[in-house]
Amino acid sequence: MDNREAHVADSQAETLRAATVSYAVRLGDDALVLGHRLSEWCSRGPFLEEDLALQNVALDYLGRARMYYSYAAELEGQGRTEDDFAYRRDARQFSNLLIHELPRGDFAFTMVRQLLVDVFNTLWLEQMQRSADQTLAGVAAKGIKETRYHLRRSHEWALRLGDGTPESQQRMQQAVADLWGYTHEMFEMDTLEQSLVAAGIAVDPRPLRAPWLQQVTSILTQATLSVPQDGWAVRGGRSGYHTENLGHLLMELQSVHRAYPGVSW
């Protein structure tokens, strides 16, 4: 290899590394934001046992966010830490999917969102375990076990509430309708992810839509809920265009750090 070729190879590796940093931050944002939404149920759960169970799920997501951010920080090599990613960026710099930032709503909304996300995550993490990036593959291998349990819960709640009382059925159906347009973004891919898919690092989410729809349809049908038409779609999270809700969420999540920068205990 002459110098020129070596230089090209170096810059390709550099591009790939930078893309992996961004990808890890995206995944960290997804986990942090959804985990925070779940944590908002703390002490407000329908009863004690469910309150604890929901917080276990929230903590699983928080743990995942930490792993992704730490890896991004390490790979970036600029001296940033996981806290810099969580506490020192504004909404415009967050790249989570919009479905994760929507307010927690009622319990039906929270559980339908979990169901839609859990089915996606089981499919996505299964493939992610085979990522060419050893760290991301490792996080996925840990995450898939958690997510299978999350799905078991959201699946059962869907049946319980969908096929429950007229009110619970109506609330579940409303939640499905309100969330459906936000599910499409999960299956989209931009050029950054395209380059990582080509390198075997990221998972192409597009082929996951068919098995996802099949599983979700089967669960919703079992829960006597109907599957909405694909009428509308909202997107923008990956490029930093968020709903107004993320700003409010970050205001709370980052408030302690803003009041006492660098505080620790």
């Binding site: 329908p46 009863f47 004690l48 046992e49 469910e50 604890l52 169970a53 276990n56 078991r152 819960r153 059962e156 319980r160």
Partner: protein, 95 residues
């Protein structure tokens, strides 16, 4: 959903293979399946167990405090039911 409509379950956890299941507490749930999951979420958060049993509290028949005189007192004066009551012959030495 109010807690009044939920059944009470007793939770038993086996800490390690080879040990017995031990009663660790109780919780509310709608059915055994949910009780098992809540037992996992409430009682095994710090890796306390490798196996969980749940049983509806109502399914347990328990002795009553009022009965304790007739249930337990009669065995107080029957020390010969303990192995330690018997003197071992010299030849046995230790058992």
């Amino acid at each position: 959903m109010s807690q009044q409509t939920l059944d009470l379950y007793e939770v038993f956890i086996r800490a390690r293979r080879g040990l017995d299941h031990k009663h660790v507490g109780s919780l509310h749930a709608e059915d055994p399946e949910q009780a098992l999951e809540y037992a996992r979420d409430v009682y095994t958060r710090r890796s306390e167990g490798v196996s969980i049993w749940v049983v509806r509290s109502a399914a347990i028949s328990a002795s009553q405090e009022d009965d304790s005189a007739s249930f337990f007192d009669p065995s107080d004066d029957k020390p010969y039911r303990h192995a330690t009551y018997y003197k071992l012959p010299q030849a046995v030495d230790s058992m």
